[in-house]
Every structure is written in C-alpha cells, then in structure tokens.
Point group: C2
Chain length 244, copies 2
C-alpha cells in the first residue's frame, strides 16, 4: 500500500496523466489560471479522470508542500473493464454474479462490501466514475485486502454498463425498500447483477428504470433500513444459498 | 443524546454511584490514595461497574478540568436484565431470538449490529460486563437509534447467562469459521441464541463449550472471513428466512 498516495504540482500531475497513471481524482484550486493550467485542462479533456474546483484551504489541508493549486490522488487499486471481466466469467462457464454500487461514498462501508463480495464469490464490482468512495488505503484496509483480489470496474456511464449487462443476459435486480417482493422470491440461480444504492439517496431513478426487478430485505423493527454493507451481505448470501 | 457523557472528581463520582446512575466504566489515576479514594473503592465494591487504573495523561486527555484522578462515563443507554426480557418474550408467546456478542470492541461494528438486530426482530443483545465496545454517542448514532429500541443486557458472568438461556430451552448456536456445518443446516425456527465473537479473538472457549451447535457462513473467496457486522446480518437473516 502506498503511504503517500498523492501527486502535487501542475507539472507533476500533467506528467502523471500523460504517463497513464491511474488517478482517482484531481483537486484544482479555484481561480487558477496561466499557461500551465491551460495545459492541464487540455490533458484532462482526453481522459475520464474526475476533477473538482476547490478553495485553496482544501488542498493546504492535504499537503503543506508547494502544490501550485493542483493535487492528484493516485489509485491504490487497478481498475478493470466490465466487458473484459464478463467475457472471462462466461468463458469459464460460470454463472455471473455482479455487484453494482451506485454512489457508496463511505470508505469503510465500501471496504466491508468489497470484503463480503470477495467472500461470496462476486465476479466484479461496478462503480460510477464519479461520486463513489475514494478507494484509498483505508478502503483497502477495511476490505481486508479484498480490493486487491476482486475486480473493480469504474465506468464512465453506468447506464450504458447496466444496459450492456442486461443485453449480455443478466437479470438486473435492484435491492431497496420501495418494493413488496422479498429477496427470497427471486431466482438468483441465473446470471445476475445486484444494484445497491447509497444510504442517503438510494438507487438513482435512471438506473432503477433499467432494472429487471426490485427486491427488499424483510424488516420487522421500527428502523426499517440496514447499514448498506450489512444489506449487501444479506442479499449476496441469499444468492449463495440459492446457488449452493 | 448527552453531549457531555462523563462525570469527574472523586466526590461527584461517588455520589453518582450511590444515586444508582448507570455507569459504563470508571478510570482511576494510578497511585491515587487518601480517604476519598478509599471511600470510592468501598462504594465500587458493592457494584459491578468496571474500573481501570490508568496513567494521569489518559484522564487529562478527556478533560482539562479538576478531575482529581477520577472520571466516570455515564451510560448513553439503559441496560436490561436477560431474565426479565426472556420472561417477557415467552409470556408474549414469541419464539425468542437472542444475540450474544462476545467482546465486540469496535463501536461502529457494534452500532451496525444493533441496527441489524432491531431490523431483524432480535429480542435482546447480551454483552459481557467487560471488554465490550463502549455504548457511547457514536455507537448510538451508528445504530441509527437502534440502541434505544432494542434491549441490551450487560451481564457480569456471561457463562451463567448462556447457561440460563440454555436451561430456558434455547439452542445456543456459535457462528464462527471453525466448523463444517453451514448456517443453512440448522433449524432456527426454535428458540435460539446466536453467539458472535470478536474479529480478532473469535468466541472464547469457555462460551464455545456451552454452545449447542456451531455453524459457519460459506466462503468462496480467499479472504475467508467477513466483517463481524456483516456476518451477524447474514446469520440473523437466515433465521428470518426460515421463520417467515
């Protein structure tokens, strides 16, 4: 695990992008201008790297060194392409089990989910390019190393990816509370992708419309919602139970 | 939720104990002596409140006020007696589902477990007097308030409590990795207590010997163990599935 997972300084960041380094996200100081900044913008345009304009204090809190208003977070993990993984799973004669995480932002939740996914034989985790937890050292640690073992695919357009999974013969099952059907009422023995939403926002409507079906975990108490990493564990193990 | 969950000063702590205030734990500065300290020791002897002798810096880090070497953490939640709850559950004609947590020390894990327990209809959570996560504001928050809804019983002698549950007709099921039987191979429709151990130490041998049976969650990956809050969710929902 890298101790120091960021690169700072406009020039260093431009070079890292050009060298094809896997970058999680870039923070750029608001109001930055000049030739080098224009170069950075140009280089960024050819990529899918997410970047954010932030007040200078935000970058100062991360490093006290001469960052010139630009800092890039290097990926702790390697990303894969959903098509490649699905092709591999099918060619091995396995029944795919895919986990789509729509904007899970809590690093510890993400780590715990990755760990469960590895333990339950999930073939890949798919996340959107933006709005997902940063898969940093903390995430890798909470995942007990699972993030180095299970393929994570970071997709620029999650709608396209879900459509692709569907067209490849997978049922797309949304797991949330706004349905009557229980997780026990779906046949998980066929190729399946399970979609989990963030704790606060749930699953985005645009993805929900693409789902084949929606299921919920039964709730007998008053709180009526589980922590998302626990909920993911419960639904994944229902798949396992059916497939055993 | 109390913002300020501690009482400091020998006199104030003695009065709090005498008044029967629910106290989680007391820290006492090493080398403390004198009449008031002897009074405190005498008052403590009549209780089951855990206390710890610590270097002065530990207390100084918690409060800068004149603590006289003694600080008590007041409970955020009310504790119950296992006998009372079990009696109530039986008298309501329900099939008991009890969760015994052997030294879960991580506050966030404990909170997530309490939340799952509330959602899945667990009747009570039993923890040992010592070595469990402090059920402070963070635990209550992570539990989404479940710790105010589900009875928690803090038992001085967990062996006696497990024996009591067993003699009351509950099967005691240990959930850990060192067994071949799967969670799907046990009948959970009868009165049941499930025992979960801490992430690092597992379930203590002395409790394990009292268990009726042991089960494991199937693992298909290489990591071979789930986060304890996820594991608890998986096994509790297997109970729910069977009981539905």
């Amino acid at each position: 695990m890298k101790e120091d997972n960021h690169i700072f300084g406009i020039h260093a960041v431009i070079e890292a992008i050009k060298a094809g380094k896997e970058i999680d996200k870039i923070l750029i100081q608001r109001g930055l201008a000049g030739q080098l900044f224009n170069d950075l913008r140009k280089v960024l345009q050819g990529t899918e790297i997410p970047y954010q304009m932030v007040p200078p204090e935000k970058i100062n809190r991360i490093t006290k060194k001469n960052h010139q208003g630009v800092i890039a977070f290097v990926c702790e993990i390697e990303y894969f392409k959903a098509e490649d993984i699905l092709h591999k799973v099918f060619s091995e004669g396995k029944t795919p089990l895919v986990l789509v995480l729509d904007k899970i932002t809590d690093v510890r939740n993400f780590g715990a989910i990755a760990r469960t996914a590895e333990c339950s034989g999930v073939d890949m985790i798919i996340v959107p390019q933006r709005g997902s937890a940063q898969l940093n050292g903390d995430a890798v640690k909470t995942s007990a190393g699972a993030l180095h073992r299970i393929p994570v695919c970071r997709e620029y357009n999650l709608k396209d990816t879900i459509t692709f999974l569907k067209e490849s013969g997978l049922q797309i099952i949304a797991c949330h509370e706004k349905t009557e059907k229980l997780i026990y009422d779906v046949d998980f023995k066929i190729p399946t992708a399970i979609v989990m939403g963030s704790e606060d926002l749930g699953i985005s409507g645009e993805y929900l419309r693409l789902c084949t079906d929606a299921v919920k975990i039964p709730m007998t108490g008053k709180i009526a919602s589980l922590n998302v990493s626990v909920a993911t564990g419960v639904v994944l193990y229902e798949v396992i139970r059916q497939r055993l």
